[in-house]
Amino acid sequence: MNNLDNSRKRSKWALNYQKQCQADLKKVGMPSRNAEYWKFTSPNLWETTDLISVGEKNFLENDPQYIENRPEYYVEFVDGIIDPVTLQNLKKKLKECEISDFEESVCDQFHWANKLLGKAETKARKSYERPFALLNGGKSSQGIFLNCKESPRKPIHIFYSGEIEDKVNIRHLLKINCDTELHIIEHFSGNAKYNVVTEGFLDPNSTLNHNRLVSRFLKNSIITHLFVNCMESSVVKTIGITLNNGAVRNETFLNLEGSQCDVTLAGLGLGCSQSSICDNTVFVAHLENSCKSRQIIKNVLTQGAKAVFQGKIYVDPKAQKTDGYQMSNGLILDEKSNFLVKPELEIYADDVICSHGSTSGSLNTEHLFYLKSRGISTNEARKILVEAFLEEVIEEISDLEFAKFVRKEIQDTLI
């Protein structure tokens, strides 16, 4: 597991990309507090410069009971390193997709990803610079590359677990072929400082269903990037559930390059401590006609928690008949919490319907009274209303089992 050895074996295409990232990062520099997209959240929280150096891991030591509770399709990253057993199992079970881990992929000169790596990222950088993704590009040696040729029966889960509190860079690449659907569910529960970049390439008429759960036990800072390039009639549904006590920044860039795409982004944040930050920074680029995009953000804040939403709908002159929608709601439950939003529209086509709304405030006192007048206690009434507030996002989750799990997690967090 020596990184130097690995990089020596990398193919030219992968090495070129890595070097380009390092060079670009030098040019661009890490973001400062003054950078437009870092005004609300300090980039220092994710100041990751080093890659972890973990020794040999004995993955078999994993508690079998634990593994038993894992779903059918899954891979696990323990302390940022992929558990080879889980990968082998997945490869065996999942015939619908071609799967390889990061190092395998980049050492293969003719790997299917050789024309794709970094391409969605480059497009995302046109909206604004993504230094943390560049940092990841220069450093990562872990991740999975998945070529979806037929639709898997069930969602594929990715677990990030482990104890060490170090910095971890992980890079995934997803290619979803015509007429197929891929469902990925990520679970963050490890202690590391993650910097994850996922690039998705959607062929015409394909679907990416993506869920991300950041556990309430998590204390460290996480930054995730999801850069998706959509060809015509493709569908994206990405839902992030953030229940942690640390800082989480999710940067999402959806590039609607084909017409008639339909994308939904939903974000749910439940912040219950002063150290909790939930930052959703979203850019949806409508480049072709007749696409539809929706963004739904819900944050509940107590104990001095902070939520940030920076969401932009960009509509190119060519993107006539665009239907863009964006709604962000903050529920602030105490005097110390902050809800900071910047919902942006940048529109260059006229035949469009674009709207955004944003509200913030405390629980509706009329609603509280209605519930209390029926004999429900104040605490219970508040819980009911908070859960109801978040329900709109949970309803978007298509995997019912996962939705159930999320509801349970939220209820446990609220106690």
């Binding site: 939003v341 910047k342 942006e344 529209l345 529109i347 955004h356 709304g357 944003s358 405030g361 405390s362």
Partner: protein
């Protein structure tokens, strides 16, 4: 005394004109025209700042104030965050005092004046003689008013009209309404107490520039408990050509007072001064109520985007007092580039700020405008209604900030910001920042972007209304909430202006 002139400024008592003539020799402050002044060299330097101060016969403290601002300005940079693209401004290639127009540069007659401009005048119903006057045709002012060159006429006219016709009525109430240069002489303690306290000299690049070189502007003081009986400024229609470039306005409403101020340039000036950087400061003390309405129709440049005014304005109100209230209303249809964010600092408990805006950008115009509502006091309220219309190849941006401080308990904000696109070569952008930092406060923001509804248009056309008129009708409907916030006499003109601004945008 020419009737034409009197007619052109309807509403102005002929006696006023006479007063202008009789006073012109003695009038000391403001723009006592001397010829050298017209030839002050281009560029900005300490010398120029001193010259401006000297020409205005300013006291030492004012000069020091200006020089400090100038020093700071030299170390500042032009902001690059607005969504505006314009040719880099050469600040040494600008006039900072007096008019660059010598008589020779002016059009000789209306035939030399750009036809589009004249059309606009005609549509606004401005009499021919006044059209000449506004377009700056040589001799127009001599023929019409039989007074000295118009630089003087405007300024004197302006100050005197107020000073004579309404002086008695306003003075009886203790209201001060004069040019700021006059106020610096006559009410130095008031000016000194308030100037720069709302928009500090260090505020931003353009405000700092203004602080160094401001030419003139208005000063209003409404004493405690007084409700100003008239709209102030209908009489300011003309003054803008001279003082407009670096105008500085200061309005103070003392406890329990009320005032409505109109800043209007409803007749577009033909002005070769590209750079305008005004500063407006409003101070509202306990229970005071200030309404500030603007109709801005500076020269927007021609159809191809040549010429036009760069308008960089800093307007801010400080609601210092408990239950004070400020309402900004603006109709922005002119200028090639608009950079303007009339704001409210809601410092006093239960103070209120309102912002109503219509911004229309056609052809190659660019507007980046909006507001900042800073909630500091308890129970403060703000309301923002912004209507942006883009046509031709124009770019129109709403940029706003709502910031509710942790101590501003029980505060509310409501924002509605709608954009309308006419044609597929223009852009409409919305950049709101909303920061709520306590749980007892509420914010609500809604924004939409759409084109003119085809069904509405069809309905109008089916009833026999021409397309251009139909668009004007629908756009006026779209802006209604804001237009209604204007004082009556402005509302009608504003409606016409909306229609004129959109000409050529259909088809």
């Amino acid at each position: 005394m020419s009737n034409v002139y009197t007619e052109a400024k309807k509403g102005i008592d002929p006696g006023t004109i006479e007063s202008v003539n009789s006073l012109k020799e003695d009038y000391k402050y403001g723009f006592s025209t001397d010829i050298e002044m017209d030839y002050a060299p281009k560029g900005i330097s300490e010398e120029i700042v001193k010259l401006i101060s000297k020409k205005n016969l300013e006291p030492e403290w004012m000069l020091t104030w200006r020089l400090e601002a100038y020093q700071r300005w030299t170390k500042m940079f032009e902001p690059n965050w607005p969504m505006l693209k314009y040719k880099k401004i050469d600040y040494q290639d600008q006039y900072y005092y007096a008019k660059p127009k010598s008589l020779k540069e002016r059009p000789k007659s209306l035939a030399d004046v750009e036809p589009a401009l004249l059309e606009t005048y005609a549509k606004l119903g401005i009499p021919l003689k006044e059209q000449e006057f506004l377009a700056g045709v040589v001799g127009a002012e001599y023929a019409s008013a039989d007074v000295k060159p118009k630089v003087a006429v405007d300024a004197v006219f302006d100050s005197v009209s107020v000073g004579t016709t309404f002086k008695d009525e306003l003075a009886k109430l203790g209201i001060i309404f004069c040019s700021i240069s006059e106020a610096i002489h006559s009410y130095p303690e008031l000016v000194r107490k308030y100037i720069g306290t709302v928009v500090p000299r260090s505020d931003n690049y353009f405000a700092t520039l203004n602080s160094a070189v401001f030419s003139d502007g208005s000063f209003v003081y409404i004493p405690e408990g007084v409700k100003c009986p008239m709209e102030l400024s209908t009489y300011f229609r003309i003054n803008a050509e001279n003082t407009g470039q670096f105008e500085r306005t200061l309005i103070i409403a003392d406890k329990d007072s009320q005032v409505s101020y109109l800043e209007g340039c409803t007749a577009p000036m033909r002005d070769t001064n590209q750079l305008h950087a005004a500063v407006v400061e409003l101070v509202a003390l306990d229970n005071a109520d200030i309404k500030y309405s603007t109709v801005q129709n500076w020269y927007p440049g021609d159809k191809n985007g040549n010429g036009g005014i760069y308008n960089f304005v800093t307007k801010r109100a400080d609601c210092r007092g408990v239950r004070s209230k400020v309402m900004w209303t603006q109709i922005e249809t002119g200028s090639a580039v608009t950079w303007k964010y009339p704001s409210c600092i809601l410092r006093g408990d239960y103070s209120q700020g309102e912002f109503y805006s219509v911004a229309i950008a056609n052809n190659y115009q660019q507007a980046d405008t909006g507001t900042k509502m800073t909630h500091l006091g308890r129970g403060t309220r703000s309301r923002i209604v912004s209507k942006g219309i883009s046509a031709g190849k124009a770019q129109n941006t709403y940029r706003g900030l709502v910031n509710i401080h942790p101590k501003a308990l029980d505060s509310r904000n409501f924002t509605q910001c709608d954009s309308l696109l006419i044609g597929n070569k223009c852009g409409a952008h919305t950049v709101p920042y909303i920061e709520n930092k306590n749980s007892s406060s509420r914010t609500e923001h809604e924004a939409t972007t759409s084109k003119i509804d085809d069904d509405q248009l069809f309905y109008c056309l089916q009833r026999g209304i021409g397309e251009e008129d139909a668009v004007a009708l629908i756009v006026n409907g779209f802006c209604k909430e804001v237009l209604q916030a204007l004082p009556m006499e402005f509302a009608l003109e504003a409606q016409k202006l909306v229609a004129i601004s959109l000409e050529g945008s259909v088809g």
